[in-house]
Every structure is written in structure tokens, then in C-alpha cells.
Amino acid sequence: MHTRTVRKKCGVLRMSIVLVVLLVILAVLCAVSAAVGSAGYTIVEILQRTFEEGSNPVKVIVLNLRLPRILLAVLIGASLSSSGALLQSVMRNPLADPGTIGVSAGAATAASTILLLIPGMTGSLPLFAFAGAALACFLIYSMAWKGGVDPTRIILSGVAINSVLGAYTSLLQLLNSDSLSGVLAFMNGSLSGKSWYQFKTLAVYCIIGLILSFFCIKSANALQLGDEMAKSLGVKVNASRIFLSAVSAFLAASTVAVAGMIGFVGLVVPHIARLLVGSDYKAMLPVSIVLGADILLLADTIGRTIVPGMEIPVGIVMAVCGGPFFLYMLRKKGGNYGN
């Protein structure tokens, strides 16, 4: 009994160490991200100047421009990773991410329509993007429903509906190729020019979503054992699957509404978390959340500093750096997962 509790503590210890390391990295990244940019400061300088009385350029840049952007990156990274982690259990498919359930395609459809056909309503873009994402997701689930929701049917109806919506978006873009810059920025997911206003809106949604995602841990774990096993353990499989999907759609749709489509985070981060702490959602979900925040903040910081005078959208940085890194992780520790 004694060795048992000791061993149990070892598992918790491992997760705690990983979490603490990731949180330290997050703190360092926040500090670095606040310091670097077109105007570079040292950390000491930032600390001194922001606590000074009165207004000064350092204070304005750090507090009004960089800080909200840093916090947004953290929130979005956390939400997208949590969303992807939950969906991978819902679908029992390692390739599931928020794009699978139509969140990206739905938001893109709504955004292109607003930006290209009704530019007068650009101000309410986030609202429409959210609604589009939710609607596409609902459509996919209702098409997949046949006495219950089967993951394969969700994925297949997702492919079908995503392709229809994709075709519509492409057609719109072809017909309006002269005014595409706004749409392109949305499609590639960018945090450029985001302020406290967006942060405040998103914070409410994301925090609700993230709290809800912790309620999903037990059912996410049970779904990993297969539907029949989960059912015979007393889990309401359909209800769990829908609740988990709803939480992850809510999280992903909120981020899409504010920052556009940032791919790859929801797919890759849960896998890296799994390699670090294993498949148990009790450890994997919190680690995914913090790791997602780390990675998105890093990607955004790189994107806005690597080429002086130019911003590379975080979605593009994410895809370019994330892919090879993921492959590296897979080859290095692939024996544990994915066979």
C-alpha cells in the first residue's frame, strides 16, 4: 500500500514538473515578447518605465500594444489546444482538430461573406464568424446523427460539408479578387492590431470554455476505451460525445471570431502533451493548455519580429515551425504513441 501511494505520487510529480517548467517558460516568453519588437527594450527598462508616473512611450507600447497581444496569444493557444485535445477523444482519431467539425470552414464562410459582400458590417465580423462556426458544426453533427453520433460519420459528414463551404469561399474570393487582403488576414489567423477590447471579450468566453473542459476529463478518458466499453462502464456515450464536442466547438469558435483561423495548434499540441505526460486526460489536458499558450505566444513573437518592419501572421509561423517539430517529436519518441 505504501509503495503504491509513492508510485502514484510519481505520476503526479511528473505532471507537476512538466507543468511548472511550461509555466516558467511561459513567464520567460511573456517577458521576452514584451521586450522585443520594432522598438526593443531591456526587461529592466520595461519594469522601471511602466511603473513611472505619467505617460511615456515605453509604457504606451508595452501596456497598450504588446501586453494585450501577449495575453491574447496565451488565451488562444490554450483554448485551441484544449479544443483539439477534447476532439481527439470524441473522434478517437489522432487527426481530429477544430477544423474537422467545421469550425474553420464555417467561420471562413461567414467572414468572407461579410468582408466581400457586405463590407458595411465588418464591425460585427467576430459575431458572424462565431455564428458561422457554430452553424457549420451543428450542421455536421445533425447530418451525422443516426440514432447516435458515430465518430466516423462525423468525420465523413465533416469532410463533405467542409468541402462545400470551402468551394463557396473560394468562389467568393475568385469573384472579388481585388479586395482580398482582409479575407487573407482572417484565413491565416493574425493577432496584428489586437487590443484590450478583443482580449476582454475573448477572456470571458475562453475562461468559461476552459473551465468546462476540465469537467470533460473523465468522459474523455472513458471514450478512449471504445464506445462499448465506455457504455458498459455506465458512461452515456452519446451525451458525452455531444457535450465534449460542444465545449471544443465553443472554444475554437471564440478564438476564430477574434483572431481568424490559426491551424495546427489544436492538432499538434495535444500530441506533444501526450508524448510528455501520457494519454490520461487528467495530466494531458492541463499540460496541453499551458503548452498551447507557450507555443502560440512563441509563434506570434517570432512572426512579428523575425522580419523587421513586417508581420508574418501567426497562423503561417505556426504551420511552418510546428510541422517539422512535430515530425521530430514523432520520430524521437514515436515508439510510445501512434502505432
Binding site: R4, R7, F215, K218, S219, N221, A222, Q224, L225, G226, E228, M229, K231, S232, L233, G234, V235, K236, R274, G278, S279, D280, N336, Y337, N339
Partner: protein, 259 residues
């Protein structure tokens, strides 16, 4: 604890897989369902445990309609080991067995001291206690089957349903699994209902056998009464002799030479 099914009809889409099925199961007995591929054995098992909906008929568990059970309440009475199950390869044995306690826990609670005790008991009873820290991927086929049985056992069900527990195992692991099932039944009085393909094993371990042919019950009774030359021919279209060997409790089936 007993299960009473009457006039059961189960199907998928337009196809009726099982029809007019009456089955009566008791606590403490080992009942084996046999029959050719596609005859509806697994379907019966799933309908009895509510993994599948039935269209007609009724199932009563301790005189209570199966449909009236809460999911968790049902999971505390019957445990099912489905034919297909999977766990993430890095799950530890003791964690997987721990999932058997889910029907007793609310969604926010972890294992209580009582749960831990039962998990340990289930692992000891199935002989996997020594490898509790191993991950599933480190277990052999036979070991992992014992781990899954331990998971079902941790549910503390009155009746345990095993859907082809020996398929995909080599002969030594098949025998080991059967021995384990028999031992669990004898020692803790748990009822077992299983689907088997190996008729010799069915003959030896079962208290009762139900033969299913084309979705209907062909016969039911004590092993040696049910497994006869006539049944083998009518149900499986196989010629054989039932041979009694000296010193063995159960007869053997000698199939007609293949060529």
C-alpha cells in the same frame, strides 16, 4: 440476480439478426452461447446488456425492466467485456483496472480508499497485480485479456458478459483465460455469460449452453445434453463423434478428418 429475456428481436436497419429469443440467466452459473459465425451470438449478448436496442420483447433484470435502469446502476449489476476494446498503449494496468470503478463514482471524484481496495482485489484475483505498474503495450495478449477481465471485475457486477474472450489468443492463453473465468466463478460466485467458438472449451467450463442458429435459439441445456452429433450436423454442418475419455469430466469432440 437473474436475467429474463422474452421474445427478443434485435436488428440493424432492415435486417433482423435475432428473433423470438427467450433466455434465462442465473447468478453463479457459467452460461455459454455458441453458434456459427453470423448467427447472432454477440447480438444477443449486446441486447441483454443494453449495448444494442431491441425491437420487440422484454428483458428483466431482477424483475426490473432493463430500460428502466440508470446507466451507472446497470453498470454496477452487469459488466461487459466487448469483443473490440482498446486503450491508449501508455495506460498503466492499474489505471485501466481503475476505470472499472467509474459506475461507483461521480464525475469529479477520484478513487476512494474503498475503490483502491477493490482495484487491488480485482488485480490479485486475475493475477495481474504484479504487473500493475506496466503499461498496456508491455503486456502480452493473454496478459492484457486478464487486465480487461480485471477491469470488468472491478465493477463488482453480479453477472459478467464476455464476448469471445479467447479469440486472437494462442491455445495456452486460451486455456489460461478459461481457467481464470472458472476460478472467478467458483471463488466469488460471479455469474458468467460468454460467447465462445471453441466447443471443447465450452463443454468443459459451462454449466449451461445456449445454441443459436440463424438468430433463433436452437437448443439450451447442460453441455453434454446440448453438444451432440445431431446438433453439430444441424447447426454447423460438421460431422463428428463425441468421445468420452477415461478420467475426464467432459467429453471431447472428434471432428471427421479434414481430408
Amino acid at each position: 440476480m437473474e436475467i429474463d429475456a422474452c421474445g427478443l428481436q434485435v436488428g440493424y436497419g432492415d435486417i433482423i439478426v435475432v428473433d423470438e429469443m427467450d433466455i434465462h440467466l442465473h447468478k453463479g452459473e457459467i452460461t455459454t452461447i455458441i453458434g456459427p459465425n453470423g448467427s447472432g451470438k454477440s447480438t444477443v449478448l449486446k441486447a441483454l446488456t443494453r449495448l444494442l436496442k431491441y425491437r420487440k420483447g422484454s428483458v428483466y433484470l431482477n424483475q426490473k425492466n432493463l430500460q428502466k435502469f440508470e446507466s451507472k446502476e446497470l453498470a454496477r449489476c452487469v459488466g461487459v467485456l466487448p469483443q473490440r476494446h482498446s486503450a491508449p498503449p501508455d495506460f498503466k494496468v492499474k489505471d485501466l483496472v481503475g476505470y472499472g470503478r467509474m459506475p461507483y463514482q461521480s464525475w469529479y471524484k477520484g478513487n476512494s480508499a474503498e475503490d483502491e481496495k477493490i482495484i487491488d482485489w480485482a488485480m490479485k484475483a486475475t493475477g495481474v497485480y504484479e504487473m500493475r505498474e506496466k503499461s498496456i503495450q508491455e503486456c502480452s495478449g493473454g496478459e492484457s485479456q486478464r487486465v480487461w477481465i480485471a477491469t470488468v471485475l472491478a465493477q463488482q457486477p453480479d453477472i459478467m458478459f464476455l464476448d469471445e474472450p479467447t479469440t486472437y489468443l494462442d491455445i495456452s492463453h486460451q486455456l489460461e483465460t478459461m481457467r481464470l473465468v472458472k476460478k472467478l466463478n467458483r471463488e466469488s460466485g460471479i455469474g458468467v455469460v460468454m460467447v465462445l467458438h471453441d466447443l471443447s472449451q465450452a463443454l468443459e467450463v459451462s454449466d449451461r449452453i445456449v445454441v443459436i442458429k440463424d438468430g433463433k435459439k436452437y437448443s439450451e441445456g447442460k453441455p453434454e445434453e446440448v453438444i451432440t452429433q445431431k446438433m453439430m450436423w444441424e447447426v454447423y454442418h460438421v460431422e463428428c463423434e463425441i468421445v468420452w475419455l477415461k478420467g475426464r469430466k467432459a467429453p471431447l469432440i472428434a471432428y471427421k478428418e479434414i481430408c
